[in-house]
Symmetry: C2
Subunit: 160 residues, 2 copies
């Protein structure tokens, strides 16, 4: 680890404000299309998640959110997370019990999540071919696949 964790974000420096704006716009569009409501709480929690590319835990989110809404409880966060995941705006990283914002929520995608164990930045890599292979393998075993989770831990460029 010869670079500081935040020296770069993800693979390359980027205008993070753009990520935020993009995520929020996608959220509005997706919710409108689905006919569901992106309420103030849900929107704010999405913003908090998307404020970095680091995986964030539900109780970390709660701490942040409480600064603005003292009466927030764990269930406030979990409800919002459930909604956002259902809408495809947020993904849960199972191996961390933490959450990240999705940068491609409007696009159908099948991805591997790369997780840097040093800086906790996590990002998705499209891996449709891998999905295809795994689904085919499972069907050969008479398995009917539904959800595939692929998480790769390691060190990102900045942290290695």
């Amino acid at each position: 680890m010869n670079k500081t964790a935040d020296e770069k974000v993800l693979q390359q420096p980027h205008n993070h404000q753009h990520c935020m704006t993009q995520a929020l716009q996608s959220a509005e569009k997706i919710c409108t299309d689905k006919g569901v409501r992106l309420t103030a709480i849900r929107k704010r929690i999405l913003e908090l998640i998307c404020s970095s590319h680091k995986a964030i835990g539900a109780y970390e989110l709660l701490d942040l959110f409480r600064k603005e809404d003292m009466k927030a409880k764990p269930v406030t966060i979990y409800r919002a997370l459930d909604f956002l995941m259902e809408a495809g705006l947020v993904h849960k990283i199972e191996s961390l019990n933490a959450f990240i914002g999705c940068l491609q929520a409007e696009t159908q995608h099948q991805s591997v999540i790369l997780i840097c164990d040093n800086c906790k930045n996590a990002f998705e890599l499209d891996a449709s071919s891998v999905y295809k292979t795994i689904f085919a393998m499972s069907k050969e075993k008479q398995f009917t696949p539904t959800t595939l989770t692929i998480e790769l831990h390691g060190l990102c460029d900045s942290c290695s």
Copy 2:
């Protein structure tokens, strides 16, 4: 779901006693080779895990183990699980917070875990090619991979 969950186990009926015997023999061999101790607690917890192919939670294990050792505590189980995972004898299913015995602990393997959401039976499918692809993809992004988790939920042959 037109068959009962236990009508068949995994993909085909099998002599489950053989799985147990095999797992325990592997465990002895692996521990001897590594120079670590398969104590009574560790062995018994491995047996409990391997008594079926269903993913089992730590507290379920605790309940079972307590029938034989009233003074067992959560940490008793977690310590044994840590040991068994370190030895490659048990895998954690991250998306379930549950554990399964490994049927090929002595062999180097890179696998996808197929998890039936009806009967909870889980089994590994070798997927080296998929690992290769994902590792290569990640390296292209200057990511240094360590651990890859692949979990496929769905319905097994018996339950679909």
